[in-house]
Symmetry: C2
Subunit: 277 residues, 2 copies
Amino acid sequence: MQISSDVLSHGGRQLVVTHDSAATATPMTFSLFLPPQAEQGKVPLVTYLSGLTCTHANVTDKGEYRRSCAELGLAFLAPDTSPRGDGVADEEGWDIGLGAGFYVDATEAPWSTHYRMWSYVTKELPALVAAEFPALDLDRQAITGHSMGGHGALTVALRHPARFRSVSAFAPIVAPSQVPWGEKAFSRYLGENRDAWSAHDAVALIASGDRLPALKVDVGGADPFLERELRPELLEEACRAAGQPLELAVRAGYDHSYHFVSTFMADHLQWHARHLG
Amino acid sequence: MQISSDVLSHGGRQLVVTHDSAATATPMTFSLFLPPQAEQGKVPLVTYLSGLTCTHANVTDKGEYRRSCAELGLAFLAPDTSPRGDGVADEEGWDIGLGAGFYVDATEAPWSTHYRMWSYVTKELPALVAAEFPALDLDRQAITGHSMGGHGALTVALRHPARFRSVSAFAPIVAPSQVPWGEKAFSRYLGENRDAWSAHDAVALIASGDRLPALKVDVGGADPFLERELRPELLEEACRAAGQPLELAVRAGYDHSYHFVSTFMADHLQWHARHLG
């Protein structure tokens, strides 16, 4: 593990860390913000999964989370969205391959060699940060994410029901099996047999009985991907049918960018902090 | 004038605008945040001048000013740091030429053709935004900046004493005539006759009798440029000798990056808002 950057910010430490990942068999980079409270004791951890084309850097630069995390005493962990480097498969288009790991363990060649983001974000990364940063209280965790990362946050939380006290998402892909981005990615990474897809589809998981603790979702009313890729109404219907509580808000006029994410970041972090105690 | 981006952010509008500048004889790009209050009436304007290597985009992405500006009802204007494009002189090194205009009107060849940032930020840009954005109240203005842009903010305000109600800076170059960055830039842009330099040197201007309304300066205690390039003690001495009030704070542990700027941005904006009424 190599700390490439460790900068005082809003009273806490903004770290950027690179390590050799066993899950992806590549170096992986993540950012971790430790709030000032981490100097005195254990702090809860919010994991943020990023969207298509992003690295750890997008939310680290533009997410505007540090002020709230410092006020609330929250650590904030932001991994990359795919393996990268020599020999990592890619394909033309920004919605597949590099920057588009979709938080699955690929089973199909050539992706299966390195695209193991599910194992990375659910097992290897939490174990690594728990070992290396003892101030993190992994008994108090929340998860959130943006777009493809909202999909990741929902599915990771649905399949780890004891791990997170609260789950939120900004403009998430809620039903990847039913939308073009997800169909393209899952057919490449998981193959054409759609039975394998449902384990990575939040709407399908909720329909099959999985549940979330507390759930908050915001989408932008002017998001150009709203109707074709995000389809929050499918989540709303699945939650209603399943009796899963959901706080969903459509924010009029907001788009899909980090202007939307940063505007509502403080709301989400305050909400998570209430659940994290 | 062409608005290349107009995005809802924190309840206001984050604009990016490109126009043909008469001052620099190039296209110039700036960002302008209009807070939600600009929909109802006039709002005060805070101009932010950026540092070496930056464009409008650095503070727009990483400055974390929008939340405070939206709360306080402040517009926030961020110009570029130099002319750019075909035929614009440059020289090797990031402290001269592109991204390093130093907010002067160059008098020496080859710089004098386009490097006219003084005229741009003091005359052309304020006139343009006043004409194009009638919600801006140019009778209530503040100015701030970072590093080279802190130098710009101080010198622009010292030479326009009736224009700004408050002036602040993050890690400013306060005495360019006495430090390597300034000596290099001024000798190229203004020539070897140092008499021409003092009109662009905050410490020299204060010593010669110019004054500022309210003045707030923060510097990072771990800023690697503190002792050689920034030298806040020279500003402190000049202000003390001149009876110029100064609120100077050295922020222990902070570096020269946008982590420092964004940490103290809310403080500066709240302070400006108090002076702007």
